[in-house]
């Protein structure tokens, strides 16, 4: 039985918020869990704030209430102020932020990751979303060493392979970005 988990994925249009939300939702189904998401479509996708809610387990509402999220994946640092109110007190967050900056209101469980920089250096600048996800997936991300997410890196890799079936070069690059994030997460 997979643990219940509520996650927010936040970013701006074009960063691939929907992609990693659906990837995690696929991973949940792969583990036999129920899943509900809520996505942002329409005008906001033109570079505006885009946020997805992801609920794994026996939930009925597609939306996460403030102070109920177990974790946040924030692809655009400026959104952290906007969406941190969703995080429960002991919740964790991975925030894509340029090096050197500080995250206002970030506690011990909030980790800034230069996912944009890492993705750019790896030659796949559009894959910051997967780098950040990889970071959150890395097994050593919490003290118990069990990982913070409801699923393992293998679950997400399997979901990626299903989703990008027949697009071999994109799949290869995506798996690399995920692995890059996982290495960064365990650093």
């Amino acid at each position: 039985m997979t643990a219940r988990q509520q996650i927010l994925v936040s970013g701006v249009g074009g960063q691939g918020v929907l992609f990693i939300t659906r990837l995690l939702a696929d991973a949940a189904i792969g583990k036999g869990a129920g899943v509900l998401t809520s996505e942002t479509h329409g005008m906001a996708q033109r570079g505006g704030v885009v946020v997805s809610h992801l609920k794994v387990g026996d939930f009925s509402s597609p939306l996460v209430r403030p102070s109920h999220a177990d974790g946040l994946l924030v692809l655009s640092a400026e959104n952290f102020t906007l969406h941190r109110r969703f995080l429960r007190p002991a919740g964790w967050a991975f925030v894509n932020a340029p090096p050197g900056g500080s995250l206002e209101g970030g506690g011990a469980n909030v980790r800034a990751v230069d996912a944009d920089g890492l993705a750019r250096k790896s030659g796949n600048p559009m894959a910051a979303n997967l780098v950040l996800l990889g970071c959150a997936l890395s097994g050593l991300a919490n003290a118990e060493g069990t990982g913070l997410l409801f699923c393992s890196p293998g679950d997400v890799e399997a979901a990626l392979k299903r989703r990008l079936q027949g697009k071999e070069s994109l799949l290869g690059a995506s798996l690399q970005a995920l692995a890059l994030g996982m290495r960064e997460g365990t650093r």
Binding site: R22, A28, L36, H41, G42, M43, R46, S61, P62, L63
Partner: protein, 611 residues
């Protein structure tokens, strides 16, 4: 249970339409409904189902085509966003009287919030006005089930049935077990009955009486009766909820210890509400809280103001999305307990605003309009280009097609007042076909004077690149007929109709100046700004060759380009006090070269070209 797959609510609806034998489906794109028809077209092609699926020119036409299919006995569906139902409300009202033979679903997707709409209107109120039943799904899986129920209801009572999902159903994803798409053999067979299909007012009275009889019977139909989510709960207070609000209520009650103390009734058919349920409810409970979106449709049918709490009583906000934290607070107050703590500060707005994409031809058009008519009035319309607001190129946005009629209205009002003003209206190509043609004819006939810029990117971009009547392609990409925009504009009586490319900025500004001059002296001038959408992969071969753009040391940080041209690829560096290019976002269109007053934006020549 092993075929569980992740489905968007709109995909689940589309799949269910095919599972249940829908053979005529029509739609006009609009958030949050757009993916219903695009998913249906994709799935029916994959499944090899012979059916008619079309992106219609507007919702009224879409409705009438699908409805007529249902008159012949086929199963049919029309889908649209809630404001699209306004456009289709004329046939809706009449079709309720004349009824159907084959099942007919009117899928109208509401957008409480609103997230991507002009209004928060509740389509269920239009179902009430039309006197047709409406079903209110609470999740993608529930929406899938209600398609089957809706078709059965529609055929038993020969009545159009509304399915009213909201954004949180349409754009929710859920693990769904889709059913099989089986053959559904039925042939179109139109049985003439002029007293019904072509009824005159005398017969309409009779049809209205018949309709009332149908509604009374539908209000007793068992399959859509309310059900108890928690049959073991007992207490003096009950909650009645429908749609996504019911999904929120279920989760809040089960997580708060109230699950056994407050009976929760889930309403599937908010109108007509089952009278037997109403009397049982009022006979059993001291107080009732109604949670629903967006108006108090269920609440107003439970006729005991003293004991019913909801939107009309002030217990639940009447505007905005009924977010789970708001529902939680209303439930806590109703139950007389403290909230669980999630009723945190009110939702913060802010964050980055949406903007036209880097390289978007609309940006060039708005920049050129401001150059050609700097003191002008700029009526605009519904689409990506509404974001011309950020550029100061949009003064009004009312509803589909209104840019043209509002331009005429501004002209007539100023003419009466003896004031000369340049009016430059903008409308997208899809919006022009949808509702811009009648007002253009009207403007010509009434002697209005303005410039209409048709932003022709050859697609319906905002909603996901659906074809337009000029694309020459159908819903599933199959060849379709195509209209000639210039011929259409001229046939409306417009003398000045010229085509330009906004990306060739200096020429385009000159063309607009010519159009403005024509509008001052002669009448309506139409400029077709033709350039493909940069995001539309199907038109990628029509895009100009990208050029590497860079900023020279001549940049003095005046910010003219970032404020007046507002391309997201032009970044102002607060520390360095100058502008730089975001190489990831810039698509190399090179239009900004013509914008910089200091000539500090330069480009390398396109690759393979020598100068």
């Amino acid at each position: 249970m092993n075929n569980r797959t992740l489905m968007l609510g709109n995909e689940a609806i589309a799949h269910a339409l095919l599972e249940n034998g829908c053979r005529i489906a029509s739609s006009y794109p609009g958030t949050p409904a757009s993916e219903i028809l695009s998913a249906l077209a994709r799935i029916k092609t994959e499944a090899g189902i012979a059916m008619h699926a079309e992106w219609a020119i507007n919702e009224k036409v879409a409705f009438e085509i699908a409805y007529t299919g249902a008159m012949t006995g086929l199963r049919a569906a029309v889908s649209m966003k809630q404001v699209g139902l306004n456009v289709a409300s004329d046939p809706l009202m009449s079709a309720a009287y004349t009824g159907v033979k084959g099942g007919f679903l009117v899928i109208s997707a509401d957008d409480p919030g609103p997230h991507s709409s002009q209004t928060e209107q509740d389509s269920r109120l239009l179902a009430m006005a039309a006197k047709i039943p409406v079903l209110d799904p609470s999740s993608p899986a529930h929406a899938r089930e209600l398609v089957e129920v809706g078709y059965e209801l529609s055929e038993i009572f020969e009545i159009p049935v509304m399915l009213r999902p909201t954004t949180r159903v349409c754009h929710a994803c859920q693990d769904v077990s889709p059913g099989e798409i089986r053959p559904f053999p039925r042939k179109a067979e139109f049985r003439k009955s002029p007293g019904r299909w072509a009824a005159t007012p005398a017969y309409r009275y009779e049809l209205h009486r018949l309709l009332n009889g149908k509604l009374a019977a539908i209000a007793c139909w068992h399959r859509t009766a309310p059900f108890r989510a928690n049959p073991d709960a007992a207490g003096p207070r009950a909650i009645v909820a429908s749609g996504v609000a019911a999904a929120h209520a279920r989760e809040i009650l089960s997580g708060s210890g109230l699950w056994d103390r407050i009976p929760l009734y889930h309403i599937v058919q908010p109108y007509p509400l089952h009278p037997e349920f109403i009397s049982r409810l009022l006979g059993t409970y001291e107080e009732v809280l109604v949670l629903e979106e967006t108006a108090g449709v269920i609440e107003m049918q439970i006729m005991d103001r003293g004991r019913v709490r909801g939107k009309l009583s002030g217990a639940v906000p009447e505007a905005g999305e009924l977010l789970p934290e708001i529902a939680e607070e209303a439930i806590a107050k109703f139950a007389g307990i403290e909230t669980g703590g999630s009723a945190a500060p009110s939702p913060q707005s802010g964050g980055r605003r949406p903007t036209l994409c880097a390289g978007c031809p609309h940006r060039s058009s708005f920049y050129a309009i401001k150059k050609a008519a700097p003191a002008g009035i700029y009526p605009s319309d519904i689409g990506c280009y509404t974001l011309g607001l950020n550029l100061g190129g949009v003064d009004t946005v009312l509803c589909m097609g209104a840019a043209v009629s509002q331009a005429a209205g501004f002209y007539q009002a100023h003419r009466l007042s003896g004031k000369a003003v340049d009016i430059v209206a903008t409308i997208g190509d899809s919006t022009f076909y949808h509702a811009g043609i009648p007002p253009l004819i009207d403007a010509v006939v009434q002697g209005a004077r303005f410039v209409l810029v048709i932003l022709d990117n050859s697609t319906t971009a905002m909603t996901g690149f659906q074809p337009t009547p000029a694309t020459g392609k159908g819903a599933a990409g199959a060849p379709a007929g195509a209209v000639d925009m210039e011929a259409l504009v001229r046939a409306c009586g417009v003398e000045f109709c010229k085509v330009g490319t906004p990306g060739r900025l200096p020429e385009f500004i000159a063309l607009l100046k010519e159009a403005v001059a024509h509008s001052r002296e002669r009448g309506v001038a139409v400029v077709i700004a033709r350039e493909p959408c940069v995001m539309d992969r199907s038109q990628a071969d029509r895009l100009p060759t990208p050029r590497k753009v860079f900023i020279t040391d001549a940049c003095n940080g005046c910010r003219y380009c970032t404020t007046q041209f507002e391309c997201p690829a032009l970044l102002y560096d607060e520390e360095g006090k100058r502008v730089s290019i975001d190489g990831l976002l810039c698509n190399g269109c090179g239009v900004c070269l013509h914008v910089c007053p200091l000539d500090a934006i330069r480009a390398e020549p396109p690759e393979g070209e020598s100068r």
